[in-house]
Every structure is written in C-alpha cells, then in structure tokens.
C-alpha cells in the first residue's frame, strides 16, 4: 500500500479554516502525550492553562498584556512572510522601537502637556526605530542579495546587546540615575504621566483592562489587510512573493519593494516596542532577564504561521498564544517547568505546517499492484545480465 500526494485542483474555502483548527487540536493531543511521558496529567494541565489564561479573575487582562506585543510581532511577520521575505528580526526591531519610543516619551513628555501628541510621537518613533533596524537586512537583501534570515536574526542579538547596554552598562539618557533604587539595580527612567498610554476597562470578570496598544494593533491589522488586498503596493508585493521573475516582468521595482516591505514589517514590530514602554513597563526595560527573555518576536512567527498570514486571524491567534504565555507565567512552578510553553508553541507550529500540506494536496492511497490475476503477483524485475 502506498500513499501519494497530488495537487488539489481547487481549494474549498472552508479548508483554510478547518485545517488550522485541526492542527491546533492535534498539537494539544501530541503535547498531551509528551506530558504524560514526563508524568504530568495533560487534562488537568490544559484546564489549568485555560483557566489561568482566560477564565480566572484578571486573567484576560493579563492575557492582553502578552497578546498585544504578540499581535504586533505577528502582524510584522505576516506582512513580510507573505511575500517570502523571512524577517526573523521582529525581536530586535521591537527592542529598537522600544528605545526610540521611550526616548520620544521621555523627551517630549517633559516638554508637552498634550498626551495625545506625546503618545502619537511615541508611536511614530517606534515605527521609525523598528523600520530603520529592519532596513539593514532589507538593504542587504535588496542590494547585496544577502539572505535576510541570517542578517535579521543576528541583528536581534545586537539589538539585545544595545538594549542591555543602555540600561546596565552605561549612563545613558534612558537610565534612571537618581534615587535609591537606581543605585541598587539599574532601571530605566520612568515615563512622565503624560506619556503613559491610556487603558479602557470593561466591567466583566472583575474588570478587563484593554491597553491602547490593543486598539492600535487592530487598526494596523485593518490597514495591512487593505494594503495587501486593495492597493497597488499590495498587488506588487503579492506578485513579488509569488515569483520574482514575474514581478520584474510586470515592472515591479524589485529592490525598492523588498526594502519597503522589510521596513513596513519592522515598523509594525517597532510599534510593539513602543507599546511595551507606553502601555506596560512605562520605562525602558533593559534587563537581560526581562523583555529579552519573553521572546515575543519569535513567538510572533508562530502566531503568523498559524494564522496563515491573514491579518485578522493573526489578532485572534495572538490572543490565543498570549493566553498560553500568560498561563505559563502564572503557573510556573514545580509542576510547570519553564519551557513548556515553548514546547507547546513548537508543537502547534509543527502541526500547522503538517496541516498546510493537506490544504494544497490531497492524499491518495494506492493498492499494491495494478494488474489482474493472470500476471504473476508482484514479480521481481529482471536483473540485467
């Protein structure tokens, strides 16, 4: 018996939803097996995860804290990966967005009294920081044909070093130098009140706090969707992602497009960085065990892949994975070693990849042999004499 795969002639629309959902289910099943193997009861663990992620009082607010940056890095990945530009640098681009955003917040926050102005400036600064950092691999890819995977990724490490340096290893503008706490442990300067981003509270579950960043993420998703499906820019980007020879043929200025998409992707990640500072930390977090350990950038890739690079699905999946991350943090302890969340994310991505195959191809099972009875069954081929 053999199984072969053949291209589907047409793809029913429901397949693009059913398959990711099934991949998710499959992932939890597989992970359940892994948990059993290490002596942990999967069902209890999953219930705990779900509880801590979405049900308990305050859980949704906590989940949004994780989901917001994931939405940005997920959208950043979706924007680029769709075009076959593998921007792995969302992590570093987010750090740079945080640095620029925090600088804008600190500087303008002490000189202006208009919250709207300062926050808008922080968002713009975040975009600039992220886009600039992403332009490095962008330029290298567009003009020097250097693989963007490695360059964007290596720059993550550099960005992390810069971030740590600004707070831990220098007396930079971002560092808090006065006050007792500051001399004990390096921290970033607190943002003035005017630069701190507002939140909205829904009266449910004890009060769900929705940060400004979440709204911005939704707006970005809408813009991204419109950009790719309704504009000339998106048309050219899609052609380029499909076939770069066809893109050249259709008159696309390929190098400029590559640079533009990388900058776009980086800019989105940069807003995520600004949101980290404005929404949550209210200061630049340079601690190597802080922001840098949360790996929002890499998880964003998981989010985007599971969402099949669709901007709206990305938001949903970000919420889901955010809940997972949050639950992981809450439950961390002897029964829940760190790293389980990464394992789960990895398995989810594996299943999503495997499921992807079923969307494009159909499996066919072949019975062995094709002949009727009068030919000797399964004859051995004649060896050459």
């Amino acid at each position: 018996m053999r199984v072969t795969f053949e291209r589907r002639l047409s793809q029913p629309w429901w397949l693009t939803v059913v398959v990711p959902v099934c991949s998710l289910v499959a992932a939890f099943v597989i992970a359940g097996v892994v948990l059993l193997a290490t002596g942990i009861d999967p069902l209890t663990t999953y219930r705990q995860l779900f509880d801590a992620g979405f049900i308990q009082t305050g859980s949704l607010s906590q989940t949004l804290i994780s989901a917001t940056p994931l939405a940005f890095t997920g959208l950043a990945a979706a924007a680029a990966f769709r075009m076959k530009l593998y921007n792995i640098g969302a992590e570093g681009q987010m750090y740079m967005g945080a640095i620029f955003g925090s600088a804008a917040g600190l500087y303008l926050g002490s000189r202006s009294s208009s919250s709207a102005f300062v926050i808008a400036a922080m968002v713009v600064a975040g975009i600039v920081g992220g886009a600039a950092w992403a332009s490095i691999p962008g330029v290298l890819r567009a003009f020097f044909r250097t693989n963007e995977i490695l360059t964007s990724l290596l720059l993550n490490y550099v960005a992390g070093l810069i971030l740590t340096y600004l707070i831990f290893e220098s007396e930079s503008y971002w560092r808090q130098t006065k006050g007792f706490n500051a001399s004990v442990f390096p921290v970033g300067k607190q943002l003035p009140k005017v630069a701190q981003w507002p939140t909205w509270t829904i009266d449910m579950q004890g009060g769900i706090v929705i940060p400004l960043g979440a709204f911005i993420a939704v707006i970005v998703a809408v813009i991204l969707w419109a950009l790719y499906s309704r504009t000339r820019f998106g048309f050219e980007a899609r052609v380029l992602g499909d076939s770069d020879r066809a893109a050249r043929y259709s008159g696309v200025r390929v190098r400029r497009k590559i640079l533009a998409v990388m900058a776009l992707s980086g800019g989105i990640a940069g807003i995520g960085g600004a949101s980290q500072v404005g929404d949550f930390a209210h200061a630049l977090d340079g601690d190597p065990n802080g922001l840098q350990k949360l790996s929002y950038g890499y998880s964003g890739i998981v989010v985007a892949a599971l969402a099949r690079y669709n901007p709206f699905a990305t938001l949903l999946v970000a919420l889901l994975i955010g809940g997972l991350k949050n639950a992981g943090n809450t439950l961390e302890g002897p029964n829940f070693p760190a790293g389980l969340v990464g394992v789960l994310q990895g398995i989810i991505l594996f299943c999503a990849l495997g499921g992807e195959l079923l969307v494009r191809y159909r499996a066919r099972v072949h019975r062995h042999g094709a002949a009727p009875e009068d030919v000797a069954a399964a004859p051995a081929p004649k060896a050459a004499s």
């Binding site: 002639l9 504009t231 020879r245 200025r253 030919v375 399964a378 004859p379 081929p381 004649k382 050459a384």
Partner: protein
C-alpha cells in the same frame, strides 16, 4: 517468433483532471527503431516515463523480452536495461560529464566505493568514438552546448548498457545537420540489436528514421503501422483526426512602412557573466513578422529579455517608433508598446498563484487603478471578457493560474499581450508543448497582430513554424544575428544555425 523487446498492454495512467494514457497497447521489437508519434499532450512522454520507472501505471501490464516486469523505481528500470534521453535533460549542471555518467551506477568501475576519475574518462572516450558522440569527459555540463549535453544524455544510457533506448523529442535542440548525425547514431544502435523508441511530433523525422510508427492521440493508441506503408498525410490524419491547417505567409512587406523597432548594436550579458548577445542590430517594420531561428542557448532568450527591458544592455540602444527605450527597464519597455510572450509562461509571464483576473492586469494595473487603490471589479469584468473572447478554459476569473493547462496558460498570456495592442510583439517559443488546436490559435493571433500593424519578432526552435510564419528569417548563433538570403531554404538556415555562412 522472438518475444518483443517491449510489450505494454492496457496501460492506463491518470493525473488529477486528466487521463494521460488510456488503455494503451504498445509493442517494439529488438533491433527496431519504433516511433511514438502524437501531438503535444497525447501522452507520449507519460508512457515513456512509465517504462522508465518514473511513474507507476494505474492499470496494465508491462513485459520486457517476454518477462513481465513491474518497476517500483527508476533504479529497477535501469537495471532491466531501459535507458531514456529526456527532453529536459536530467543532468547535474555543476558536475563533469564523467560524474554524470557514473551517477547511481552500480556496475563496472561504478561498483567501487571510491571513484576513479581516470578509468571513467577512458570509458567515456571509447564510447564517444564508437557512436560518434565525442565529448570531453572532464568538461562541466554548464560549459557544454545544448547539442553536446544531449550527447551526454545518450552516452549515459549507453554507459548503463541500455538495451532499450527511449529518445524524447531529441531533435528539438539540434541543427538540421546535428539531427542527421543523430539519425546515424540511432541506426547504429538499432543495428546492434538495441531497441530505440523515438518520440516525436514531427512527421518528416518519423518518416526518415523509423521502421514502425505507433500513433497516440488524446491518451489512446490509435494504430501501429510500418513506416514504409505510411505517408505524411495518413500519419497526420491519425495524429490529429482532421486536416491540419497549414499556414503559409506570403512574405510581402512594404519596405516603406515605418519601422516600429530598431535595435542598434545591442550587447548583453548572460546569467553566468559571459556575453550572450554580441552586437545585434535589427529593424522591424510595422506589419512584419521576423522569425528568429536558432538552437536554444545561442542568446535568443537574452536578446528577447534585453529588448523587453528584463535584462540590462551593456551597450546599444532599443528604439520603438523612433524613441529610445530606457535601458533595462521593463516598465518603460511595455509602456513604450513592447509586448513579450516569454518562453517561461508560468514562471515569468504569469504569477502562478494569483488569479487569472490579476494576471490579465499584470502590467496594466497601474493604469487601471484609482490612485493607490486597485479597481478589482473592473479587473474581474475585463477578465471575464477575455475568457470568453479567447476561449480560455477556466472556472472563472478568480481561478489560480497554476491550475490551468499549458494551452490555456498560453492563451492567458497571449490575450493579455495582444489586447494591449502593442507596437512590437516578441513571442519566444509560443507554441512549445501545445496541442495542434492551440498551436493554430496562437499562430492566428500572431498573424492578427501583424495585421493590426505590430512588428512581430517570433523566436522559435521549431523550423516548421519559422518557415510557415515568416516575412524574413533571422538566425541567432552564439550571440550574433544574421539574416537568411533565401527565407525558404532549410539548407541555408541550417548552415547559419550551425555558425556557417553560405558561400
């Protein structure tokens, strides 16, 4: 009576959406040259892939020399003595000739774990001399001409001691003289008792070299006849089922009519940094069809790309209706009215996973949009029109182009280029791989384009097509372009294709 060398009975092979081979019966005798004739898409290549173990039949039996066989992999077919020379060579470009021959081999010098380059080289030279297929064993494939590469493919089969050789459209890449040499080689192999299965869609070749002919049409084997008893007309009728419309072009062009394309001293580099186009100059007038003959790899593709702005010119100018076109700028080229139907339909001419509607607007979407926004409704309507007008078989304007068949793909490309009413239309191998009906349609569009005043540059490796459609014949050889004095002389064109100038 001896058992036939090859016996295929009731062989059926299905792919999604098409039955490539439908209960085919085929037999070939030892020492025979047996032609498999059929138009493109009739199922010849599929049948041969089954025989070589690349595909598995869904139904049917195969026997070699009377013994039933079932191949689970190409390895088993090779061990059984079946060798194939593919239309698209299966050679590793970066390896040497010797390395390609030895690949996967398990006998002779090949049985060793360690490779001995010297011994292999000697064997290659011997084989080359015996069959007039001389080639340098140490040369790397990418350094060889296409004709030489084909020799390597044949040597590969002989080196593996194939008793049954399948040649798939071998003359497509040869000059007329090289083709004649090939026929000599084929005869020699048959005289030694090997069976040669010669796949082709060209009637005169089949008549020239084969002992028997089996005609395939739409996946079915229609008839097997002795070549001596057949005529080109009888074969043609079997092959297509109706009379083929033969196009002939009278070849009168008004020398006073305005030139639409002027290429002056064009030099362009190839992909590997070598010079591919060397000082080509040509003038194309309105309503004229200039056919460019030449074996693949002599710079035709690079020339077409250079004119269409897809390749920068190191030197030289391209002018459309007197105005120079910005060098290496595809957008400027098509805005100036240069249409290009590339050889590589699905990879260059179309964006594979995008819809037909988007592909039809692949170049025009900028003009058709409202500011930065696309007018998707308008694009869809335009596509629905084109599908109707050009008879494109598709489920609708939203269908992905990579789901279409070869003929329909080409229709999408041609309908797009044609509807743009270009000043210059460059068509590179526009009918390759298409069935007869599609070929006729494409030819009629080219003629219509010329009728509307475009200058048509037809680049083709098919001499029949060149001869049928031209007002002038140009020949490309190693980057230089010459013009034939007698546009209907196969002999002269053949000489020029081989780099000779007639006395």
């Amino acid at each position: 009576m001896d058992a036939p060398a090859v016996s295929m009975r009731g062989v059926t092979k299905r792919f999604p959406g098409v039955v490539a081979n439908d209960s085919v019966d085929f037999e070939a005798a030892p020492g025979e040259v047996h032609a498999l004739l059929g138009e493109n898409g009739a199922g010849k290549t599929t049948l041969s892939h089954i025989l070589t173990g690349l595909y598995r039949p869904d139904e049917g039996q195969i026997a070699l020399y009377g013994e039933p066989v079932e191949f689970n992999s190409p390895r088993e077919a090779i061990d059984a003595g079946v060798g194939m020379v593919h239309q698209h060579f299966r050679l590793v470009s970066r390896f040497t000739v010797a390395e390609n021959l030895v690949l996967g081999d398990r006998r002779g010098a090949g049985r060793n774990f360690r490779i001995d380059p010297g011994a292999i080289a000697t064997q290659v030279r011997e084989l080359g001399e015996r069959y007039s297929l001389a080639v340098d064993p140490r040369a790397r494939i990418w350094q060889l001409s296409v004709g030489e590469q084909q020799r390597v493919e044949i040597l590969k089969a002989l080196y593996q001691e194939a008793r049954i050789l399948i040649l798939d459209e071998p003359t497509a890449v040869l000059t007329p003289d090289e083709a004649d040499t090939l026929f000599v080689t084929v005869r020699k192999m048959a005289e030694e008792g090997r069976t040669v299965i010669f796949i082709s869609h060209k009637l005169h070749e089949v008549m020239a070299v084969s002992d028997r002919v089996t005609v395939l049409r739409a996946g079915k084997a229609l008839a097997t006849v002795r070549t001596a008893d057949a005529t080109p007309e009888s074969l043609a009728e079997l092959m297509v089922g109706r009379e083929i419309v033969v196009v002939t072009r009278e070849g009168h062009v008004n020398p006073e009519s305005a030139p639409v394309l002027e290429v002056e001293d064009l030099w362009a580099d190839g992909d590997r940094g070598t010079v591919a186009v060397k000082g080509v100059s040509l003038t194309l007038r309105s309503g004229e069809i200039a056919a460019v003959a030449g074996v693949a790899g002599n710079g035709q593709r690079e020339l077409a790309e250079a004119i269409a702005g897809l390749r920068p010119c190191a030197k030289g100018v391209v002018r459309v209706k007197g105005k120079a076109v910005h060098n290496g700028d595809a957008r400027a080229a098509f805005q100036a009215g240069i249409g290009y139907v590339p050889e590589d339909r699905l990879g260059t001419g179309l964006s594979p996973t995008l819809s037909i509607a988007m592909n039809l607007s692949l170049k025009s979407f900028r003009r058709e949009s409202l500011g930065p926004f696309l007018r998707l409704h308008a694009m869809r309507d335009k596509a629905a029109d084109a599908i109707r007008t050009f008879g494109i078989k598709a489920s609708g304007p939203e269908q992905e182009t990579d789901e279409l068949s070869g003929g329909n793909l080409q229709k999408v490309v041609i309908s797009r280029e044609f509807s743009a009413h270009p000043n210059v239309l460059i068509a590179a191998s526009p009918t390759r791989g298409l069935d007869v009906a599609a070929v006729e349609q494409v030819h009629s569009y080219l003629l219509d384009a010329a009728e509307e005043g475009a200058g048509v540059l037809l680049i083709s490796e098919d001499l029949d097509e060149i001869l049928a459609l031209n007002d002038r014949v140009l020949v490309m050889y190693e980057g230089t372009l010459t013009e034939a004095d007698d546009r209907s002389s196969v002999a002269e064109i053949g000489l020029r294709m081989a780099g000779e100038t007639p006395s």
